[in-house]
Amino acid sequence: MSALAEPGASAAPQHRESLATGYRRFVFRRVLWLTVLTILLVASVLCNIANGPAGLDIGTVITGIFDPATLPIAERIIIWDVRLPYALMAAIVGACLGLAGAEMQTVLNNSLASPSTLGVMYAATLGASLAIVFDLAGPLGIPENYIVPVCAFVGAVASILLIQTLSRAYGATVDTVVLFGIAMVFALQALISLIQFVADSDSLQQIVFWTMGSLARATWEKLAIITAVFAICLPLSIRQVWKMTALRGGESYAISFGVSVERLRLIVLLRVSVLTAVAVAFTGVIGFIGLVGPHIARLAFGEDHRFYLPGSALAGAFILSGASIASKSIVPGILIPDGIVTALIGIPLFLGLLLAQKRRPQ
């Protein structure tokens, strides 16, 4: 404490910068980083569009986006019908998972939490597996290409509602919520194994492929649905940035200021779950984005949620965008499932970040 000045004795006030001005200068670097990350994201999306079996250069891609009429029809179709939805899907799914992970880590006060902590992804897998194994498309009257996403989404929502009901009944403390989440994860894993056990080899293959996560099923329609959900969730998150920032100072402090922490936790969990459910329903399981995105954001932007939340969404979008380029490029001509590539890139990145944080002088 020797480094402290004397309390109560205010220092000479002349010619000094106000704290508000100092803080604006302090956060300038964060605004700069947000801009850099946005530029990187745009660059990676363009790269992603250019990359593929039929090589396109960036110039063609940009012309194709802004002035499609000037391109030959083949290139126009490649850009608009194949590459663009795929590249944008990577960005938006990454953004959903990054945002969801950041909020999850805040309300569960745990930097190892992610959107899959409470079993939402497993519930989606269960829903998808049921749709595949029991071929629900016919009986439910849902179009063939939508039956798996719809069932995955329904499964995820059911798990959300179950956790919300249990948490409301037993008190939504961090411990209770995590306990229910873990119980849910194990129960769902067992059920998924059971379904895989009874599935025929064809269905089994489809289930396994689904759990690997792939952006290849991207269409404009699916993209629009995910974007709409993200566009609804983001402003709702922004409305609560101060409460979530206050929560980072400690739960007992937030309660003492008058933040109803348990209510905040349930609302945020609901939002996180919907974001995750809609993202993975169309792509299959994609892990690590929701874990790594917030870590990058925390390093670059601190934990003031005005920067942390958009930062994590941007970081998530950038990583998945990068991973999807890698998934096309590692073995030319073969699209390695994005879930696999993300995990392979995500694990070393995550460890590196954690170790760098540890080594940083306190």
Binding site: M1, A3, L4, A5, E6, P7, G8, A9, S10, A11, P13, S18, L19, A20, G22, Y23, F26, N109, W242, K243, T245, A246, R248, G249, G250, S252, Y253, A254, I255, S256, F257, G258, V259, R298, G302, E303, D304, Q362
Partner: protein
């Protein structure tokens, strides 16, 4: 002008009753009240209940207004409660911690008002130079000061502080006390402070309230309230109340009380 009255207050911690039918006479505005008692006597539970974040039965009046019927905004504007634990060591910088404490519950305040209040608080507590340091880079004492800043920034009239000086060295303890005194005299407010250091409380508080064995054992100005008997009843120790060269009382402890002497075997609240 802030006054506080407490009537027949019973508090539970989980299944256990911690304090039973406790009353405090009207405490006049401008007073600093030391809440004393052994571990588990219910000091923290009492402060939480008065802050409106814990359950209780009985009645509490602030400025003659019952606490139970008070609106959320009114309560937040009137009461500032500092929890016993220190703020979490996160990557939040001190300035953000204090700003967010204000903004999270007072969306009605303008940016300028919040920034002004924050600036004043950092100066007042003498922690201006820590404003842009991350909480995980601060010492325990420094974090405790940031926690206090989060409470003080809203300028509450009733301050409920749970061991606000537990992580501070002597110089800072006195400094914090002076700041608290200034704040309550400015707002004609009131401060209840749970403390472990009896002599610190005797030296600086206007009143002390001593709890133990599930009830209030003493209340009054330090020189009246503290006696060898209440010391024995509360802490199960033998001690003397001496007077220092400036006429202030102070406690000298001698030994652990023999089990039979205080006649309250089995009421230890660990």
């Amino acid at each position: 002008m802030t006054t506080l009255t407490v009537d027949n207050l019973s508090l539970r911690y989980g299944e256990k009753t911690v304090l039973e039918r406790v009353s405090l006479p009207e405490i006049p505005a401008g007073s600093l009240v030391g809440i004393l008692g052994p571990n588990g006597a219910g000091k923290s539970t009492l402060l939480r209940a008065l802050a409106g974040t814990g359950r209780y039965s009985g009645t509490v009046h602030i400025d003659g207004e019952p606490l139970q019927g008070m609106s959320f905004l009114r309560r937040v504007g009137l009461i500032g409660y500092l929890p016993q634990e220190l703020p979490q060591p996160t990557t939040l910088v001190a300035y953000e911690a204090v700003i967010s404490a204000c903004r999270a519950v007072r969306p009605d305040l303008s940016t300028a008002a919040v920034e002004g209040a924050t600036e004043e608080t950092f100066d007042r507590l003498g922690i201006r130079h820590l404003a842009f340091h991350r909480l995980n880079a601060l010492s325990g004492g420094q974090r405790q000061m940031v926690g206090l800043a989060q409470v003080v920034v809203r300028k509450p009239a009733l301050l409920l502080l749970d061991e606000p000086t537990s992580a501070l060295d002597l110089r800072w303890q006195i400094g914090v006390l002076n700041v608290i005194r200034n704040i309550i005299s400015e707002r004609d407010g009131l401060c209840l402070m749970a403390l472990h250091d009896i002599n610190f409380a005797l030296r600086y508080c206007d009143y002390i309230a001593l709890f133990g064995a599930g009830r209030r054992l003493a209340f009054g100005p330090p020189s009246d309230a503290m006696t060898p008997d209440v010391l024995r009843a509360a802490y199960r120790i033998e001690g003397r109340i001496e007077t220092c060269s400036q006429g202030k009382p102070f406690v000298v402890t001698d030994s652990v009380a023999a089990a039979d002497d205080y006649g309250m075997a089995g009421t230890q609240h660990f």
